[in-house]
Symmetry: C2
Subunit: 199 residues, 2 copies
């Protein structure tokens, strides 16, 4: 059996990676990764469904033991992707889809170079600005911070295998699905079946 595919979707805030991620999870049998966090559960959130909730001490032990594919601190809370369940899915032939920021994508590529990393970008920065303004939640200084971050993130394009320009969420979703379909056809992802045919 061939291993599953680990696909990482990333890109700047406002480029629409969350919508594309949810579309693909809804339309395929791809597994999503459940994060570990030190943040307190919100009402209705379930252990092992929404997150694995851990104390900060437990979290630090997991970091020290190298149990994360990527980990980040956001507003004093930690969020991380545990290796073990992801690798178990891949070994069982299941494809796994992640949505992470560019730091997370770099970390995953470093620990698992076979990961397929897709950068989601608006057609240009003007469109990104309009989308962020359209949310109506950003102060001008927060907006400028996000646009600066977006430019720095795009400048890391060499970390990625693919870029999808999200002009239309449906078309962009289809392009990511095409990328996944193509990756399943790569020679290196078919070595078991090819060698079986030749023997």
């Amino acid at each position: 059996m061939e291993k599953g595919l680990l696909v990482v979707i990333s890109g700047p805030s406002g480029a629409g990676k969350g919508t594309i991620y949810r579309n693909i999870i809804a339309r395929t049998g791809m597994k999503r990764s459940i994060s570990v966090t030190t943040r307190k559960p919100r009402p209705g959130e379930q252990e092992g469904v929404d997150y694995y909730f851990r104390s900060e001490e437990e979290y630090q032990h997991m970091i020290a033991a190298g149990e994360f594919l990527e980990t980040a601190e956001v507003y004093k809370n930690y969020y991380g992707t545990p290796k073990a369940p992801v690798f178990e899915n891949l070994d069982n032939g299941h494809d796994v889809l992640f949505e992470v920021d560019v730091h997370g994508a770099r970390s995953i590529k470093k620990k698992y170079p076979e990961a397929v990393a897709v950068f989601i970008m608006t057609p240009d920065f003007k469109t990104l600005e309009e989308r962020l303004v359209g949310r109506g939640t950003e102060s001008e200084s927060a907006l400028n911070t996000r646009l600066g971050a977006a430019k720095r993130e795009l400048s890391k394009y060499e970390l990625f295998d693919y870029i999808v320009f999200n002009d239309d969420a449906e078309a962009a979703t289809q392009q990511v699905l095409d990328i996944i379909s193509a990756e399943k056809c790569r020679i290196k992802n078919n070595l078991t079946v090819i060698k079986n045919l030749l023997n």
Copy 2:
């Protein structure tokens, strides 16, 4: 402007590469390559449409001048893919699709490593045998020759980027279209637009 994509479809006789090639040419704006040949024109065949017809002497001059991406002798006639019109199309941003045998694919990859090479294969050798028998044109010894050649061709899988198992011509055509769509999203095929965005 980004360069066009050179896509090469190959695989054993009977795997269905010709059907997939024709489907893709019919559904996309991809350019096909017009071969040079030393064979005599058949009734209705037009210079520059079906083939470029050349004398054997002219053909040998073209080989000596390195004007071919690949060239092969078939039943005392030469057939070859001239470089110049292909490179002109690619430089103008047009995608080009080839259907060639495995020797041709190797030759093209050697001269143009950016080419995307797709191996078309039946799900197994039994299916290949049934399809060849179904044609009703093969003697038993010709059939065995073809099956042996198919196995040797598949054993060259490392020359290729992708493999598509053609169980159903429509699904296989779609997979090749997905591969082309994905390749258009590769970072290396978007460097001009990324660099423009960053400047």
